[in-house]
Symmetry: C2
Subunit: 93 residues, 2 copies
Amino acid sequence: MYTLLVCYDIVGDDRRDEVSAVLSVHGAHVQLSTFECALRTKREVTAARAALKRIIDQDEDQVRIYQLGNAAMDSRVIFGRRRLEERADFYIV
Amino acid sequence: MYTLLVCYDIVGDDRRDEVSAVLSVHGAHVQLSTFECALRTKREVTAARAALKRIIDQDEDQVRIYQLGNAAMDSRVIFGRRRLEERADFYIV
């Protein structure tokens, strides 16, 4: 399992919706510009990355992808009760 | 050194500016709602977390903090040439 944190600044609404659609297949839309994704195979990771790269405008937009290990996920801290969407395994402090 | 990735959805402009001010002391404002921070001590981490928790509105806002190890930082991928601010050690694909 590959846990990816994807953060993005996308200028165009259509492109942002497309990015969101690609990512929502794989995980939770945890903040307006952030997804926590769980992908099963390296092939899924490669395909998702290729799709994101194809969708964005290379000059206007930016996507950041971080592959998180268990330690990073275990260290995750969430302040505030605002919720957009969450994966099942999270905790609040 | 503690590398923290901080992502936030903050409704109020003033609170968002305050969060940004706290984080900009420690790192780069890499996207509109995302900072990559490098903190030197556990005490700095504790103080920064406390400040963020104090600033935000617990009902309206959300801050997510991920402590990233070297593997997560090495795995970081950035698509798109949009730049807000970057730390020195990053690479583009």
